[in-house]
C-alpha cells in the first residue's frame, strides 16, 4: 500500500511539475491577497505585525482550497480516479498519496507566504521552531479534511464552488490554534513548549484520523 501511495503522490507532484498551476497561479494569488490586505489596512506597521499570524493562516486556508480543487480536477479529466480504482488501489493509498503531494505544495505556499509577510509586514520572530512545527501539524489537518470534502463535493456539476463553504467552518479550530501558535512565536516566550502547539497537535491528529476514516466512504459511490 505504501508503494502505491507513493506512486499516487509522485503522480500528483509530476502533474504539478508539468502544469505548474500551484506555482504560477495559486502562490501568486496568495501574495496578491497579502498585498491587498496591506492596502486595505493602510500599512500601519504595528497593526499589520499584530494581525500577521491570523492573516497568514486565512491566506493559507483560502489558497489551499484552490490546491484541493485542483487535486480533484485532474482526477475528473478522463475519469482518471476511476482508473486508479481499477488498478486495485485502495482508498487509503489514494488518500495518503494525495495528502502527501498536497502537503508538499502547501509547504511551498506557506514558505512563500511567510516570506511575503516577513518582508511586507515586518513582524518580530521569536521562535522559528514553533512556527515550523505548528505549520506542519496544521497543514496535515487542512489537507486531510480538505481531501475528504473534495471527494464529498466532487461531481460533474456544481460541486467545486461548494468546497470552501464545507471546509472553512470545519477547520475553524485549526485556524484559531495555528494563528495563536504563530502569535506566540512572535514573542519567543515559551518556544516550542507553547500550550497552543499542544492543541494544534491534538487537533491535527484528530483531523488526520477523521480524514483517513472518512475518505474511503466519501470517495466510493
Amino acid at each position: 500500500m505504501i508503494r502505491r501511495a507513493w506512486a499516487v503522490a509522485r503522480k500528483d507532484m509530476l502533474i504539478e511539475f508539468r502544469s505548474k498551476v500551484a506555482l504560477n497561479q495559486v502562490i501568486p494569488f496568495a501574495l496578491a491577497v497579502l498585498l491587498t490586505f496591506g492596502f486595505a489596512l493602510d500599512t500601519r506597521d504595528r497593526l499589520l505585525a499584530e494581525i500577521a499570524p491570523g492573516l497568514f493562516w486565512v491566506v493559507v486556508l483560502f489558497s489551499s482550497l484552490y490546491l484541493i480543487s485542483r487535486s480533484f480536477r485532474v482526477e475528473r479529466e478522463n475519469s482518471a480516479m476511476e482508473g486508479l480504482v481499477l488498478y486495485g488501489v485502495d482508498p487509503m493509498a489514494i488518500f495518503l498519496g494525495k495528502l502527501a503531494a498536497l502537503a508538499v505544495q502547501m509547504f511551498v505556499l506557506e514558505a512563500v507566504a511567510a516570506a511575503g509577510i516577513a518582508v511586507l509586514f515586518n513582524p518580530p520572530v521569536g521562535s522559528l521552531g514553533l512556527l515550523a512545527i505548528s505549520a506542519v501539524a496544521a497543514t496535515l489537518a487542512i489537507g486531510s479534511i480538505g481531501l475528504v470534502y473534495g471527494a464529498l463535493s466532487s461531481s460533474e456539476h456544481s460541486g467545486e464552488s461548494l468546497l470552501p463553504l464545507l471546509v472553512i467552518p470545519v477547520l475553524a479550530p485549526i485556524v484559531i490554534s495555528a494563528a495563536k501558535c504563530w502569535s506566540d512565536a512572535e514573542s519567543a516566550g515559551t518556544g516550542i513548549y507553547d500550550p497552543w502547539l499542544k492543541i494544534v497537535a491534538i487537533f491535527s491528529v484528530v483531523f488526520l484520523a477523521v480524514g483517513a476514516a472518512a475518505f474511503g466512504p466519501a470517495m466510493e459511490d
Binding site: I145, S153, G159, L165, A172, I176, S177, K180, V210
Partner: protein, 263 residues
C-alpha cells in the same frame, strides 16, 4: 392515515403549548429584578438553542445508523435531512434571539464569546451540509456522502467549542456564563421555562415530522417513476415477434462466414 392523525395532533399540541408559553411568559410571570422585561427572552432563547442542538444530535445519530451497514436504510437519511433543516432554522433563531437579548443586556449585538462563536460556526457548518445535499446525485450516493459530512460535523462541534473556549478564556472571562448566573430562576419562572422547553421541543418534532413526510413523498414519487421506467424497460425488451424472428432466422450480422465454413 394514523401517521397523518398523529402529525396533526402533534401540530395542534405544539401550537397550543407555544401559545401557553407566550401567555405565561408575557403576562403571568413577573419582570426580572435586574433585567426587567428583557428577562422574558429566557423563555424563548434557551429552549430554541436546546432544540437546535437536539436536532443536530438526531441528524448525527440517523447519519451514523445510515452508515452502519446492518441498519442502512434511506429512512435514516430522510430523518437526518428533516432534522438538520429544522436544526438550521432553530440555530438561526438562536443567533437572532441571542443578539436581541445581547444588545440591551451587554450593549452589543455580538460578542466573541465561546458559546456564541460555536453556535455561529455550527450554523455555517450545517448550511454547508444542506448545500452538499443539493448536488445532483443518486439517492444512495447522496445519503452516504451527506452522512459522512454529518458525522464529521458531529466530531467537529466539540472541537470547535473547546478551541473557542481556550481561545477566549486565555484572554478574557466568559461573559455569558457570569451574566447568566445573575439571573435567578425560580417559582413560576422555572415552570414557564420548562413549558418553553416542552413547547419548542414539540414544535421541533412536528416540523421534523412534516419535513420527513415531504421526503417520504418525494421518495414515493421517485418509486412510481421507477415502476414506470421498469415497465418501459420491460416493454423494450419483450417485443415478441421481432425477437422470435431473430431467434429462428439467423441474421447476417450474427452468423459470420467463418462460422458457416467451420460447420
Amino acid at each position: 392515515m394514523t401517521s397523518t392523525l398523529l402529525r396533526k395532533a402533534v401540530g395542534v399540541t405544539s401550537l397550543l403549548l407555544v401559545a401557553a408559553t407566550v401567555v405565561m411568559g408575557l403576562f403571568v410571570t413577573p419582570p426580572d429584578v435586574v433585567q426587567g422585561n428583557l428577562a422574558r427572552l429566557l423563555y424563548v432563547h434557551p429552549p430554541v438553542a436546546w432544540v437546535a442542538y437536539l436536532a443536530y444530535g438526531v441528524t448525527s445519530i440517523a447519519s451514523g445508523l445510515y452508515l452502519w451497514r446492518p441498519t442502512r436504510s434511506l429512512k435514516w437519511d430522510r430523518i437526518a435531512v428533516a432534522s438538520a433543516e429544522v436544526g438550521v432554522v432553530f440555530t438561526g433563531l438562536t443567533l437572532v434571539t441571542g443578539s436581541i437579548w445581547g444588545r440591551p443586556a451587554w450593549g452589543v449585538w455580538w460578542t466573541w464569546d465561546a458559546r456564541l462563536t460555536t453556535t455561529a460556526i455550527l450554523f455555517v457548518l450545517y448550511l454547508g451540509y444542506l448545500a452538499l445535499r443539493r448536488i445532483p446525485l443518486s439517492p444512495e450516493v447522496r445519503a452516504k456522502r451527506s452522512a459522512v459530512a454529518a458525522l464529521i460535523a458531529f466530531i467537529d462541534v466539540p472541537i470547535v467549542h473547546e478551541s473557542v473556549v481556550w481561545w477566549r478564556t486565555l484572554h478574557q472571562g466568559a461573559t455569558v456564563a457570569t451574566l447568566g448566573a445573575n439571573t435567578k430562576v425560580h417559582g413560576i419562572m422555572a415552570w414557564t421555562l420548562l413549558l418553553g422547553f416542552i413547547a419548542f421541543t414539540m414544535v421541533y418534532i412536528w416540523m421534523a415530522m412534516v419535513r420527513y413526510r415531504v421526503e417520504t413523498m418525494s421518495a414515493e414519487l421517485e418509486a412510481t417513476q421507477f415502476e414506470a421506467w421498469e415497465a418501459e424497460r420491460l416493454a423494450e425488451s419483450t417485443t415478441g415477434d421481432e425477437a422470435i424472428g431473430r431467434l429462428l432466422d439467423p441474421s447476417p450480422g450474427v452468423q459470420s462466414d467463418q462460422g458457416v465454413a467451420r460447420r
